[in-house]
């Protein structure tokens, strides 16, 4: 693979990562609409801001980290469909998302 092909591959990987980051940020809106707890809504808005401004990267480890965040958001959504009013569990899941974001940033 020559230099230009490598450069193109990296930019493709970076744009895919950027798309995934944007999608994760948008999915938080779904979570906000599903929860009825005001505190949780506030926390989710803060989390959404943090997610929106993550730096995209062409590293596969960082992309895997973003996928884990996407999976955690999906699980959160699935849980909220079933049980909307458990504030403790919601707080725990938000904290888990923060941990995943921190782990993802550590691989940059």
């Amino acid at each position: 693979m020559n230099y230009f092909q490598k450069k193109q591959l990296k930019s493709t990987q970076r744009s895919e990562d950027q798309q995934l980051i944007s999608k994760n940020a948008v999915m938080i809106d779904v979570l906000i609409s599903l929860t009825s707890n005001a505190t949780c809504k506030e926390e989710l808005k803060k989390l959404q801001e943090k997610l929106q401004y993550l730096t995209a990267s062409d590293l596969s480890k960082v992309y895997d980290g973003d996928k884990k965040i996407a999976n955690a958001i999906d699980d959160f959504k699935q849980w909220l469909y079933k049980e909307k009013d458990d504030a403790e569990k919601t707080a725990k899941m938000i904290k888990e998302l923060y941990v995943l974001i921190a782990e993802r940033n550590s691989k940059l």
Binding site: S60, D64, K67, N71, D74, K77, Q78, Y81, K82
Partner: protein, 198 residues
Amino acid sequence: MWPFKSKYQKLTREEVVDAICQLDKQSQELEDGLLEKQNKVNELMEKGRKETDKAIKLLYAKKINVLKKEREQDVQRILYLLYNSQLLNRLKNAIDDNQFFKNNTKMPLNKLLSDQKGLAKFLNQALNIRIAAEDILTDSDELFNAIEESYEKNETIYGMNEQDNALLAMLEQEDQVASEQELYEVNEKQKNVETKKE
């Protein structure tokens, strides 16, 4: 490698989760409907008990039966949705497992482990180093033993000559005489004590 992906390879986790959410939502709606129907049935039963007119009682009875049938159908649907949701959860877990094992095999250290020949060579080297080190110690131990065993005790310094032997015999005799004297004195004292008592 086959260029075309199968349906399962194209399937994303998000799609599965969305499907599970939809099933859960339907199931929840049906459950809420069930409770409503149950309440209506109870209401109609109360009214039916209080009612005196037979025609109205019959009307209530028919309504109750209709509601009961609908309830049975709803229960069946909920069970079906539950089973469907369980299977989709299993599919979701399979997707997660697939991703988990793919990520783990990508790890550089795991890639090293897949090189079996290199690993065998490395382990053999480590074993040989260990054996060589142990051999050095055991050889040194044997050398110590061999040299110490070849040593003979110097009888002139540590052994007994004629003069030492004669002196030792004399000392032993003196010890024997002293001990017999003591014993004799003890016996005499005892005899004296016994005669005094008499």
